[in-house]
């Protein structure tokens, strides 16, 4: 990836993540770091999602939720998870997604407050989507154990390069 084309906020976030986690880290470590940065728990779930959507994220009062499509192949699952993490790291998601009306995660589960999630799922601007994808692409090569699982086509898709 041409560094000159990467927005400054993406580069800055990437540098900080690698500075704090090192050049090789697990997805769990990244999620823990995200939780620490935002001061909230992070929950990763798999759900059956409509066609065309591989994942979304939502900031509840007490939990930042990342949802990836149920039974995605491991590489796309990781890529999707990193993409949603990137939205949080790049501050595309405020402290709570729906302001004061945002429920807790428990209330969401109890009441099935799906409306808010549906409404906000597609609310990111195109530049934000591109920025999140850039950061995800930069991070994917740092996640432990990915090298053995990434087929050639996926390597090309994500511009994978080894850091070993």
């Amino acid at each position: 990836m041409n560094a000159a084309l990467i927005p400054a906020d993406v580069q800055h976030a990437y540098r900080l993540i690698v500075e704090y986690l090192g050049t090789s880290f697990s997805l769990d470590s990244l999620l823990d770091f995200l939780a620490a940065c935002r001061g909230k728990s992070v929950r990763l779930e798999e759900q059956t999602l409509p066609i065309g959507i591989t994942g979304y994220c939502f900031a509840f009062q007490d939990v930042d939720l990342i949802v990836v499509r149920y039974r995605l192949d491991p590489v796309r699952r990781l890529g999707t998870c990193l993409h949603e993490c990137a939205h949080f790291f790049l501050r595309h998601i405020p402290r709570t997604s729906a302001g004061e009306a945002t429920t807790t995660f428990a209330a969401f589960v109890e009441q099935h407050v799906q409306g808010d999630v549906d409404r906000l799922r597609a609310c990111y601007d195109e530049p934000q989507e591109r920025a999140a994808e850039m950061l995800a692409t930069l991070l994917i090569a740092h996640v432990d154990g990915t090298a053995h699982h990434i087929p050639e086509t996926a390597r090309q898709m994500y511009g994978y390069r080894s850091h070993t």
Partner: protein, 127 residues
Amino acid sequence: MPETTVAELVDRLFKTHRRPDGREYTYHEVADALGGAIDSTSLSKLRSGAITNPGRRSLLLLCQFFHVPASYFFPELDVLAPQDTTISAEEQLHAAFRSMGVPGSVQEHLVGVAKAFHKERESTDRE
């Protein structure tokens, strides 16, 4: 002005982020909740200032436990902390239209209509 020490920051965390019953968390409670990643003795030393230069990991774990952004200890991480901004009504409308696949130019038009309608209703309510 003297710089705030790590011990002071840790002490402030314990004092201001209490259990629901108002009592301070004990070192054992914090250590247990963190799965033993930090032991209670280290927490005590950290708070008293006996450990002056703890690893980043310990402080990040404390942030996770007390639900404070990591920028509390590491100001440079403020750029990764969530902002309090919320999505405006106009942005929410755009989001709803986008999720329905409404083209951008039509979105602008519909949001304009909604704003005009809202303005009209506000002036009617005032009368």
